[in-house]
Amino acid sequence: MFRIPCPYCGPRDATEFRHQGESRNRPDPRTVTRGQWRAYLYEKDNVAGWTRENWYHGVGCRRFISVERNTVTNETRPAAAAAGAVDPVLPGAEAGAPDADSTRR
């Protein structure tokens, strides 16, 4: 069981969190096509390596946070540290979301 660096609570066991999937931006529902929407819902990048994902600290501060995790080694680090994101707390922030380009269109 790996640990996740919670910006509010510090490093905590992953079992305190719920995985919310890869950080990605919700397409505009007014213009989205079926293909784009379903890619947003179901097509994960599933990178073997560093990926940015969202977690919900349900057994702690109950905040949604973004974390970078190496899916091969389960190393984790705060999302902001690596990505230079403005706010480590808000997932879907433009910078650092690995799939931002594919879903923004």
Binding site: F2, R30, Y56
Partner: protein, 941 residues
């Protein structure tokens, strides 16, 4: 053998112990404490500190089990926890490792995997059929024909090694513990003890875990110098304030040094699973002596040099009377010296370093002679081998490290690349004198402490393995895996059949897959494979070691069972009024009070009350609540007046129904949302997700109120009459119409919320009262409504009532694929809203049309209640739908259902076929979902 026969034999005089030696300097037995026990129906006496096998070896017992496939007699090989032939049954406990389990007075030990007895084993017939039990025999013999598998299974289970558990066994107590040491040292030999001491001296909290019963490792069976070092290290450990666990094993290392430890030997606890989050893990398991492969290498009487030294030096037991020793190293020489010292005749020492070798061990049942490579034959009852070492790299492997083959030392050792949080010391790293091992341990301990934040970093001088001859197999074939009965011939056969990688050979032959999980077997298996394929051991590599390192009981993994349970404040009343409990997630609530049908009739004819405290309740505050509601629900919320409630459905982004419930507006910016009982946590998280991630600008605060309120639904034609007696709120139809919310006093309790809604289809009020007054209000309702015929009802009655009314239950009448239009909730979906969760999918479902519809269904034969989940079928194979809810309706006096059917079958009066679980097919008629009072006159009255 029957228990009675065993008992009769037990009463006889205990067996003599002719192999017990005079006191030895390092012995761990307490000769002043005799421990009587039974073995296979006979009485024996050992000393406190003896293991089961050491006490029996003292009495001359040599055979402890029969092997798994060929039923060959097996005895002591390692005299340690790894002893492959010494797994026994102790009382009700199966699979006890007899060479590691200490004696306890009155223990009843019997051999397992012998049928019918240890001495006369019917399965020895397998020796005759051995040619058919070759590599991959499972796959070849038992694969086909498939219909025979049940018969094969019965035969195989008879052969499977393992003991038994009695259904009458007294349940054992298991426990769990969590701990957070700065430094965790796995292995209490010289290097491990030194590392622990140094880390503790630097100020780290240290946990030292040793698999055996006492600290010391190989020092325990050394000479005077080793015993003196042992005493010094033990004293240091005791003074350093280290927590020491013995008879405990580090079973696994997971991400971020999450470490599992199986601890035994606690009073009143069979086994305890410790979950440790360690800052730094120091791996110091030492080395495991490797068996040698030659014909007869499994005969009782063939032993490793470490087994000999353990028996003599720890337990003062002579392992035999006439010994031949095959030695390739100093430890083998020391074993020969030990034997000589205690008076065992050492007939010959074969020096493997000079090319001397054994060819085969001979004997019927036990060893009687050895045939040497030069052709000579020596009578003996003990053959000792010291042909090399295996580094147990499991824990390092689990930390991502790949062991590398060191051809000079003829063993695997840790490779490059360990996480910073994992260190290794001692024999697993390299060889050295006691002082060198202690120095390496000390430096490693200092480094561990420094990395954990204590003291300054230390330099660890390298420790290298000493050269050792590469010895795996003599010129004959023998066993590479004892518990699995896999021989070197099997490995070669597997290679010839094309299974030519370590991992393939492992799975095909099952070599290394037995209880010792390759600790004795892997290197020999790979070496024989290398020989067979003409490749090197480096090239083939070892198999991957996975947790657990040592066996853990299932009881320890399950731990102490203490699931959280939630009860409403009315639980004391339920308990004293014969409520039948229903486990609903974490909640325990009344399913009924004994007669659900009567409860239904009471609600339809008079009034009933149900405890609905588990309903999820969220207080929403803030000016942007309407925005949140509009985003979360599929329907509209902008025009909800103060004092109104509205039913809403939430879908996920894939359009699938997530939850439903009503939300009421209590004040300008005050709302109370209710969710399903099981959906409370999910909905809360869902709303927080919207607020935190999509709309951080919205000003809404969510407060969970589920357990702050006790909730009661008062339902039935006389519910208004009952509640009027208890509240100051005007309940008249004009003042408080359907789908309205009011606040006020109930039974003198202030700050209650009342909403007029109706899941049951009757005139009803759902009241939420401060939780501490829940029981008071509940009792007041029953007391004041006695003359009205008030009756409590449970979840079962409520399910019948709502089914009569055709109200769906999310997750009962919907599943992970049900979108809003499937469930007949399309009218609620407001596609003209700008956006809401799931809108794109619902828009497309609306455009395409739903494929299925939720309908009512009544079997033509009203007495048949089809089980929930029954398929609606067409001909032999076509599936047209399924039943999601079914009950007998006391009101309509017939069976009623809710079901999904394909759209073209959804018209009322369509007759469809339902397939029952017993295969019968019955006709049923499609109806609207509402079976009772479709106009809703009762509800709105």
């Amino acid at each position: 053998m029957t228990a009675r026969v065993r008992a009769a034999r037990s009463s006889r005089r205990p067996a003599e112990t002719p192999f017990r030696l005079p006191p030895q300097p390092g012995e761990v037995i307490d000769r002043s404490r005799l421990v009587p026990f039974d073995w296979d129906g006979r009485r024996y006496v050992g000393f406190a500190g003896d293991t089961i096998t050491s006490a029996l070896a003292a009495a001359g017992v040599r055979t402890f089990s029969r092997s798994f496939k060929y039923s060959r007699p097996r005895g002591i090989l390692t005299a340690s926890a790894l002893d492959p032939g010494c797994t026994v049954q102790v009382g009700d406990e199966p699979n006890v490792r007899a060479s590691a389990r200490r004696l306890a007075a009155g223990m009843s030990v019997v051999p397992q995997n012998v049928w019918p007895t240890l001495r006369y084993d019917l399965r020895s017939v397998n020796k005759v059929v051995a040619p058919f039990l070759t590599a991959g025999f499972y796959y070849k013999t038992f694969m086909s024909p498939r219909p025979l598998w049940p018969a094969y299974e019965r035969v195989l289970s008879r052969f499977a090694s393992g003991g038994w558990t009695s259904p009458d066994a007294i349940p054992s107590y298991y426990d769990q513990r969590f701990t957070h040491p700065d430094v965790l040292v796995a292995g209490g030999g010289p290097a491990g003890m030194a590392a622990a001491v140094e880390a503790a001296r630097a100020g780290a909290r240290v946990l030292l875990v040793e698999e055996e019963h006492e600290l010391g490792g190989s020092l325990r069976w050394g000479g005077a110098q080793e015993l003196e070092a042992l005493g010094r290290l033990r004293a240091d450990v005791a003074q350093a304030g280290i927590e020491v666990l013995v008879d405990s094993v580090v079973a696994g290392r997971y991400d971020d040094n999450w470490i599992s430890i199986a601890q035994r030997g606690l009073p009143d606890v069979t086994e305890r699973l410790i979950k440790a989050r360690a800052g730094i893990l120091v791996v110091a398991p030492g080395l495991i002596e490797r068996p040698y492969v030659f014909a007869g290498n499994d005969l009782p009487g063939v032993m490793l040099s470490t087994a000999v030294r353990r028996l003599i030096d720890l337990y003062a037991v002579a392992p035999g009377s006439r010994a031949v020793v095959l030695s390739a190293n100093a430890e083998g020489d020391a074993a020969a010296a030990d034997l000589d010292r205690v008076g065992v005749e050492v007939v010959r020492v074969l020096d493997a370093r000079r090319g001397e070798d054994v060819r085969r061990a001979l004997g019927r049942g036990t060893l009687s002679a050895v045939e040497v490579a030069d052709g000579s034959r020596i009578d003996c009852d003990l053959l000792v081998t010291a042909t090399g070492w295996t580094a147990p790299t499991s824990l390092l492997n689990m930390a991502g490290n790949q062991p590398v083959w060191d051809p000079l030392a003829a063993r695997f050792r840790p490779g490059e690349g360990l996480p910073d949080t994992v260190l290794a010391t001692g024999g697993i790293v390299g060889d050295g004198s006691v002082d060198e091992l202690v120095a390496h341990g000390t430096a490693t301990g200092a480094l561990a402490a420094a990395r954990a934040g204590f003291g300054s970093a230390a330099v660890v001088a390298p420790l290298s393995p000493h050269p050792h001859p590469a010895l795996f197999r003599a010129t004959t074939h023998g066993f590479v895996d004892f518990p699995e009965d896999v021989s070197s011939k099997d490995v070669m056969a597997a290679a010839a059949e094309g299974y030519d990688s370590s991992e393939l050979v492992k799975r095909y032959t099952t070599a290394t897959m037995g209880p010792t999980q390759g600790k004795l077997e892997t290197v020999n298996t790979v070496a024989v494979l290398a020989e067979a394929t003409g490749r090197s051991i480096e090239e083939l590599g070892t198999t991957v070691w996975r947790p657990p390192y040592a066996p853990i009981s299932l009881g320890a993994l399950a731990g102490r069972v203490s699931p959280p349970a939630r009860y409403s404040p009315m639980q004391p009343w339920h308990e004293t009024h014969s409520a039948v409990p229903l486990v609903a997630g974490e909640w325990i609530r009344p399913d009924s009070y004994g007669d659900p049908a009567a409860e239904v009739r009471a609600v339809r004819s008079a009034v009933g009350i149900i405890d609905v405290t588990p309903l999820g309740k969220l207080a929403l505050h803030g000016p942007d609540v309407p925005n949140l509601l509009a985003a979360a629900y599929v329907n509209k919320w902008a025009k909800l007046d103060v004092g109104s409630v509205r039913y809403g459905v939430m879908c996920a982004e894939d359009g699938v129904i997530l939850d439903d419930g009503v939300t009421g507006r209590l004040g300008a910016a005050r709302y109370l949302m209710s969710t399903t009982s099981s959906g409370a946590a999910t909905v809360w998280q869902h709303l927080e997700s919207l607020l935190q991630t999509e709309h951080p600008d919205w000003r809404v605060h969510i407060t969970p109120m589920t357990t702050a309120y006790a909730s009661i639904n008062i339902a039935g034609p006389r519910s208004r009459e009952l509640l009027t007696r208890l509240t100051d709120v005007d309940l008249s139809a004009d003042a408080f119409p359907y789908m309205r919310v009011r606040t006020g006093r109930i039974a003198d309790v202030a700050d209650c919320v009342l909403w007029r809604i109706g899941f049951t289809g009757e005139l009803s009020y759902e009241i939420h009262v401060p939780a501490s007054y829940g029981l008071h209000v509940w009792e007041a309702l029953l007391e004041r409504g006695r003359d009205l015929g008030v009756r409590p009802f449970g979840v079962e009655a409520q399910r019948i009532l709502r089914l009569e009314k055709g109200h769906l239950i999310v997750a009962q009448d919907t599943d992970g694929l049900t979108k809003a239009y499937d469930a007949g909730l399309g009218d609620l979906v407001k596609l003209d809203k700008d956006d809401f969760v799931g809108k794109p999918e619902l828009l497309w479902q609306h455009e395409d049309g739903a494929q299925q519809s939720l309908v009512g269904l009544v079997p033509v034969d009203p007495s048949i209640v089809p089980a929930e989940g029954c398929q609606i079928v067409d001909g032999a194979t076509g599936i047209l739908g399924r039943i999601t809810s079914s009950r007998r309706s006391p009101t309509l006096d017939r069976s009623i259902c809710l079901a999904y059917v394909l759209k073209q079958y959804a018209e009322p009066d369509t007759v469809v076929t339902v397939r029952l679980p017993d295969g019968r097919r019955i006709p049923a008629t499609v109806t609207p979902p509402t079976h009772f009072d479709p106009e809703g006159a009762r509800l709105r009255g």
